[in-house]
Symmetry: C2
Subunit: 442 residues, 2 copies
C-alpha cells in the first residue's frame, strides 16, 4: 500500500483518478475510503458497473448497503450483472425491498435488449386529470426518486400506454384542459425484447430523449433514455471494432483485463486464422515445381495475396458497418454485389496498372526479372485484376452469408477475409502464370 | 418516374420508406410531395441533414422556406453544412431573422466540437426568483420554441453561468425558496471548442441529459444533449471502423455515395498500401538465391507474413479503440508496450507450436518437405515467435506514434500494419533460415 501510506490523510479526487487505472481492487477500495464524503459520492456514480462492484465488495458490508441504495434500479442491475455468480446474491441483498423487485424484473432480460437497459421508474398520469391537477400531482411524484420526468406517460388503470405528454406541452397548455386532450397518442414505442442497435437507430432518427418500453399487451414496463443507448452504442462499436481487428470482443477496458484472459481472447482467433492460413502452404506445395522452374514467380506472392486481402478487408468493413447502421439490409445483397463488381474491377485495374509499370520500370533500371519480364509483368497485372475483384466480392458478401447463417457479420474481420482470399489468390496467380508463361518460363 | 405514375395519388409513409434508399434526389422530392401533410412532417424530421438538403433544394422555394423554419437552429446549421457551397446562401435565406443569427454563430464552429453540435436555445432563470415565480416564468418561456427545458440554467445579467436546476428539483422545492438556494453551482461544463469524443466520455460517465457549453469567460452559449452526441459518436465510430478497414472515411451512407467518389476513397489507400507492399518483392529478390536452392522455404512465406499481419492488426485495433475511449493516454505507452511484449511472446509461442506440429505431422503423412523437415519446422517456428512478437509491438506502438505526430491513430489500419510487418517478416524468416539451415539446405 505504498501509494496511501497515512490513512489519516484525505485523498483528493484528482489524486485518486490519476492512479486509478493501475490500482488493484483492494487499493481502489482503500483509496475510495480516503475521499471525503461528497467527492466519494461524485466519484462512485461515475464508475463503470464493474468498478462499482469492485468497491461494493471490498468495503464493509453496512457501507456497501448504503452506496448500493443510491443507485437507480437499472444501474443496480448492471452492477449485479458485472459481479461473479457467487457474489450476486450478496449485492442483491444490499437493496431495499422495492428496488429488489424492480432489479429482479430487469435481470430477467438479456443485457442488450430494451428490457435490460430500461429504467422501470417513470412519471405517470391518468388521462382525465386537468393540466393544473397534473402539475400538482407530478410535484408529489417528484418526491419519489424518478430519474426521468421529462416525458410523462398517460396510462389507464391496467397500465396500458395511452399517450405521452412532455413537460413543455403541459406547461404551455391552458390549466383547465384535460390531459387526454393535450397528450400525443401516436407514440413510437419499443418492445421489451428489441435490440439496442434498433433502438439506437430510433434515437438517431427521432429527436426524443426517451422511448417507452411496452410488453405485448402494450403495458408500460419502463423507459429507455439516450444515455443508456449511448453507452450501449459505444460498447457495440467497441465489440465490432475488436471483432473486425480479428479477435473476440474483449468486454473490459484494456488496462483492466487480466493478462491471461486477454491472451485467450486473442489466441483463439489468431490460432484459427493461422490454421486457415496453413492452407496457403498446402496450395504452394501444389505449385512447387513451377516455383523451382521460375523462382521469379515466388517474388510476387506476398504482393498479390496482400492486395486481395486489403481489397477484401475494405469491402467487408464497409458492408459490416452499413449493416450495423441499418443502411443496408439482408435483402439488399444484390445491390451490394452489383456495386462491388464494378468497384472490384475498377480497383483491380488501378492496382494492375501500378504493378505492371513497377515491374517494367524496375526491370529497366535493375534487370531483376530476366528476359521474360514482359510476360511476368502481364501475369502479375492480370492476376491483380482477378484477385482484387474476387477479394472485393468475397469481402462484401461474407457479412451477408454470416448474418444469414445467424452469426455476427462483424466476425468477417480483415484477417478472416484476408485468410479466405490468400489461398484463392495463390491459385489464381499460378493458374494465370501457367497459361501466360507456358512454353517460356514454365 | 415509373415509381409514382399518378400524381393525383397519395403515397403512404411505408411506400416511400421502402424505395427511399434507391431514389434520386428528384424522385425523392417528388415522392415527398405525395405524402399527406402529417406524414411529411414526421418523415422530414427523421431525415439526415444531407437528405433534408436534397428535399429543400428540390421543392418550390416558398415550400422550402416553410420546412426550413421547422428546424431548430442546430439542425438548420447541419443542413446548411451538408449543402454544396453554391447552395448555402439560398438555404440560409430560408431562415427567419432570429434563427439566421443563431445559425450564423453555430456555423463559425468546427462541425465536431461542442460549439458546432450545441443548441443555442435553452431555458434560463435569474438566481433571485422564488421557486413559484420561476415555475410561472418558465411557463412563459415554454411558449417559445425551446427544444430542451429539462435543465434550467441560472445566469447573471452578463449571461455568466451561476448554476443549474433540474425540473425535478424545482418541483420538489418549497415554493417560497429562492432559485439561488436550490440550484447546483458545482457544474460540469463543456467549452465551445471541446471535441465530441471528450464530450461523449462525459455522457457515459455522468447520467446527465445535457451539458452547458460556455466560452472562456464562462458565459453560457448553448446546451449539448445526449442525442446530439449519439449521432456524433456513431459517425466517429463509423469513421474509425472505415479507417481501420484500410480506406478513407466515407462520410456517406453506403447506398448514397456516387460510384466514383467511393472508388476514389478506396483506391487512394489501396494504391498506397500496394506501393508499400511492392517492398516485399524487393525483399524477396534479395533472397532469390536461397529460394532457388530451397524452394521449400517459399511455401511458408504467406503463412509467416500473414501471422505477423494478423497479430499486428489485433494489437493496433485494441490500442486504437482504447485510445478513442480514453482508456489509455499517450503517456501510457510504456504500460502498453510492457503488456504487449508478454502478449506477443505468448501468442508467438502458441502459433509456433501449432506450426511446428503441423509441419512434422504433414511430413509424416505426406512426405512433402524432404530430409531436413525438422530443421524447416524449427525455422518456421522460430520465425513465428519473432514475427508475432514484432507484429504485436509494431501494431500497438504505431497508433501512439501516429497520434504523437498529430495524425489520427485510426489510420493504423489492419492493412497498414500488415504491410509494415510483411517486409520485416520476410527478412526475419530468411535470416533465421540462413542461420539454421546453413550447411544443410542453404
Amino acid at each position: 500500500m505504498e501509494s496511501f501510506p497515512d490513512t489519516e490523510e484525505r485523498l483528493t479526487l484528482e489524486e485518486l483518478r490519476e492512479t486509478w487505472p493501475v490500482l488493484s481492487a483492494e487499493e481502489r477500495a482503500e483509496g475510495f475510503a480516503l475521499l471525503d464524503r461528497n467527492d466519494a459520492l461524485d466519484f462512485f456514480l461515475t464508475l463503470s458497473p464493474a468498478e462499482k462492484k469492485q468497491i461494493l465488495l471490498a468495503i464493509p458490508e453496512h457501507e456497501g448497503r448504503l452506496w448500493m441504495c443510491l443507485l437507480p434500479p437499472d444501474d443496480a442491475a448492471d452492477v449485479i450483472q458485472a459481479a461473479p455468480h457467487q457474489f450476486r446474491e450478496k449485492l442483491f441483498n444490499f437493496l431495499d425491498e422495492k428496488t429488489r423487485k424492480e432489479v429482479h424484473a430487469l435481470l430477467s432480460y438479456h443485457q442488450d435488449v430494451a428490457g435490460g437497459l430500461m429504467n422501470p421508474r417513470f412519471a405517470r398520469l391518468r388521462p382525465d386529470l386537468t393540466v393544473d391537477e397534473a402539475i400538482r400531482y407530478l410535484r408529489l411524484q417528484a418526491q419519489d426518486q424518478l430519474e426521468n420526468i421529462y416525458y410523462i406517460y398517460v396510462l389507464d388503470e391496467m397500465q396500458h400506454l395511452l399517450g405521452v405528454v412532455s413537460f413543455r406541452e403541459l406547461f404551455k397548455a391552458p390549466p383547465e384542459k384535460q390531459v387526454r386532450e393535450i397528450m400525443e397518442s401516436d407514440i413510437i414505442t419499443v418492445t421489451e425484447h428489441q435490440d439496442q442497435e434498433e433502438i439506437s437507430h430510433l434515437f438517431s432518427r427521432h429527436k426524443f430523449l426517451a422511448f417507452p418500453v411496452v410488453d405485448a399487451e402494450r403495458r408500460l414496463k419502463g423507459i429507455i433514455t439516450a444515455d443508456d443507448i449511448l453507452k450501449a452504442v459505444q460498447k457495440e462499436a467497441t465489440e465490432d471494432i475488436q471483432k473486425l481487428g480479428g479477435m473476440e470482443a474483449i468486454n473490459f477496458p484494456y488496462m483492466q483485463i487480466s493478462f491471461f484472459q486477454m491472451l485467450k481472447k486473442r489466441a483463439v482467433w489468431l490460432a484459427a486464422l493461422f490454421i486457415g492460413e496453413t492452407l496457403t502452404a498446402s496450395a504452394m506445395v501444389h505449385y512447387e515445381q513451377e516455383i523451382a522452374r521460375a523462382v521469379v514467380l515466388a517474388l510476387f506472392v506476398p504482393l498479390i495475396i496482400s492486395s486481395g486481402g486489403n481489397s477484401g478487408s475494405q469491402a467487408a468493413t464497409l458492408t459490416i458497418r452499413a449493416m450495423a447502421l441499418g443502411e443496408i439490409r439482408l435483402r439488399d445483397w444484390w445491390r451490394v454485389i452489383y456495386r462491388e463488381l464494378g468497384m472490384g474491377l475498377g480497383l483491380g485495374l488501378i492496382l494492375a496498372t501500378i504493378g505492371f509499370v513497377r515491374i517494367i520500370l524496375w526491370e529497366n533500371f535493375f534487370h531483376l526479372y530476366g528476359p521474360h519480364y514482359f510476360l511476368i509483368a502481364s501475369t502479375v497485372a492480370l492476376t491483380l485484376v482477378g484477385i482484387v475483384l474476387w477479394g472485393t466480392i468475397a469481402g462484401s458478401m461474407l457479412p451477408f452469408v454470416l448474418r444469414r447463417l445467424g452469426f455476427d457479420p462483424a466476425s468477417a474481420s480483415a484477417p478472416f477475409v484476408a485468410t479466405l482470399v490468400d489461398v484463392s489468390g495463390i491459385m489464381i496467380y499460378f493458374t494465370v502464370a501457367a497459361i501466360l508463361l507456358r512454353g517460356t518460363l514454365l
